[in-house]
């Protein structure tokens, strides 16, 4: 049985050998192979290409789009989503999801504002906001892993509710005006037209890039996402890696809290509503897979900027806000379809590999 299926599969593949076949067959095989490679490469840098296309189109449609003032606006408006997506990327790389980041952002901003009412110190306020995010993320990670939950959806959904509730309770449901100058300049300041928050994001993105591509810990994140069972068998500390990505995601939510609070000079329990969905959308638009192990920092940032640019462009073109939601939804569907297409191309690619070997 086994033998015969093996044999037929094998002969199916060898029917058109690449190296010894007729010249024309060989060439078309090689062209097919090149085409597949090209297709896969295009899909890999696809998000960036689409972002460029959208930007070019917008620059024709609106003379205001490419002005430094507008670009500064886009970046400042996108900064919080971008930093959330960096955290969300790490979580999604491990096949997880963090639904709590928007609420955590709000809670961090409220905690920061409250701390500022009693302690007049920028660094203390910043530390308080970072610590809030870190704490929420740690709780997410530990409850998920140690509580042996089937999926992080549940705990982070619960935390979405808990953190928002805490923020409302602590603030009495009202925004709290006033942030230290250093927070204001992180969230709202700029150097020339370039927002300080964008510089901060680039710095953080660089750190996450180094983590994911150069550091053992980052390699483990990809390994755990690619094959958790194999990761366990090779001795990778899977549970610690899983907890760590939720801790980092929480920390990023704290940073996003600082940026948002600084931009609006306040802490508020209503900040960051639906921001968790924006961050997930950004990561998915950036080509990451919910099946884990796929995605990178550059593409996640591109996804976040894409959302910001689409919103900005439609504001400039005075498109109804309802349409913005629809368009972003369509982009998400396209991104997921691109992922499916990649899967198909990779299957074809494997067949070619079997034929070539």
């Amino acid at each position: 049985m086994e033998q015969s299926t093996g044999a037929s599969r094998d002969s199916g593949v060898t029917a058109t050998p690449v190296e010894h076949g007729p010249e024309t067959t060989g060439r078309s095989q090689r062209d097919g192979y090149r085409g597949l490679q090209l297709g896969l490469t295009v899909l890999r840098i696809g998000p960036l290409l689409i972002l460029l296309a959208v930007a070019v189109a917008l620059s024709f449609l609106s003379p205001f789009f490419l002005t430094t003032r507008n670009l500064g606006n886009v970046m400042a408006a996108t900064a919080a989503i971008a930093v959330l997506s960096l955290g969300q990327l790490l979580v999604i790389l491990t096949r997880g999801i963090d639904l709590s980041v928007g609420s955590t952002l709000a809670l961090a901003s409220v905690v920061g504002a409250l701390v500022f009412t009693t302690v007049d110190s920028g660094p203390v306020v910043i530390l308080a906001m970072l610590a809030t995010g870190l704490l929420v993320g740690t709780v997410n990670g530990i409850v998920y892993v140690k509580g042996r939950l089937p999926h992080p959806f549940i705990i982070t959904l619960a935390m979405l509710s808990i953190a928002r509730g805490l923020a409302l309770w602590l603030s009495g449901g009202q925004p709290i005006r006033g942030m230290p100058p250093v927070v204001d300049s992180i969230g709202g300041g700029s150097i020339g037209w370039f927002p300080v928050s964008a510089i901060l994001i680039l710095g953080i993105a660089f750190l996450v890039f180094v983590l994911t591509t150069r550091i053992v810990w980052g390699r483990w994140i990809y390994a755990v996402g690619g094959n958790p069972e194999a990761a366990r068998r090779t001795g990778i500390p899977v549970n610690k890696v899983l907890i760590s990505v939720y801790v980092l995601s929480g920390l990023m939510a704290g940073v996003a809290g600082i940026i948002t609070a600084g931009r609006l000079d306040a802490g508020s329990p209503t900040f960051g509503e639906l921001a968790e969905l924006d961050s997930i959308a950004a990561v998915v638009i950036g080509g990451a897979s919910f099946l884990g192990g796929r995605g990178n920092v550059l593409n996640a940032l591109v996804g976040a900027v894409m959302i910001g640019v689409i919103r900005n462009g439609m504001n400039l073109l005075a498109v109804d806000a309802f349409f913005q939601l629809i368009i972003i939804g369509v982009v998400i569907v396209l991104a997921v379809e691109a992922d499916v297409l990649r899967g198909h191309l990779e299957d074809r690619f494997r067949v070619f590999e079997a034929a070539r070997s």
């Binding site: 033998q3 053992v216 483990w220 069972e229 194999a230």
Partner: protein, 254 residues
Amino acid sequence: MTSVTAVPALAVRGATKRFGAVLALDGVDLEVHRGQVVALLGDNGAGKSTLIKCISGVHQLDDGVIEMDGLPTAIHSPAQARDLGIETVYQDLALFDNLGPAANFYAGREAAGPRWLPTWLRVLDRKGMASRTTELLDRLQVGLPDMSSQVGLLSGGQRQAVAVARAAAFASKVVILDEPTAALGLRESRRVLDLINRLRERDHAVIVISHALDHVMDIADRAVVLRRGRKVGEEVPTRENQQRIVSLIVGGEG
């Protein structure tokens, strides 16, 4: 043939393992010497996978002993089995499809520095790992089209070869393979069998689970047959006694 030392590299004596009411292993003995390939045969549910999982630290024996080079050894975890020089190629290959060959080779034991940092914070020695992986694959004559592409883009045979080469690279004593040719075509199977022969030449002790008796005849020095958790026979596999081995497996005789 190959040099066979008096003390087996790995010996299992009286291995017994229960899963609730199921007696998966019932007093099984197994010996493998360096430079020897032992085939583990048996019908589905005979206990083959359970036995090798006990050797590779995934399960613990309820009863019985495992000896490495004649010394009784407790194997509590996969990591410990690896430290003892036992590498296992599981049926599912345990590859990371999203990573390249080098990252797969070194998963969980990445070459990285500096030493004063905790392991998880160290900087990957990407070049070193890539060049050593290429070298190892070359030595085992595993040709890959592209050393940088993800393992998920390789054919079944190439993936199997990467998994076997990874085991060979890090095993100092024993390499265990669970159904290494089950998912492969003829030509790709041939390559993996060649690879197993090379492991023997390099003086590894090899245990192979296989349903393909042709392959077993080809590569195994001995065949151990399990049925319902018991060892029911041990033969030198040849064309002549193939029929007898088959009947041991299915339980036609005795």
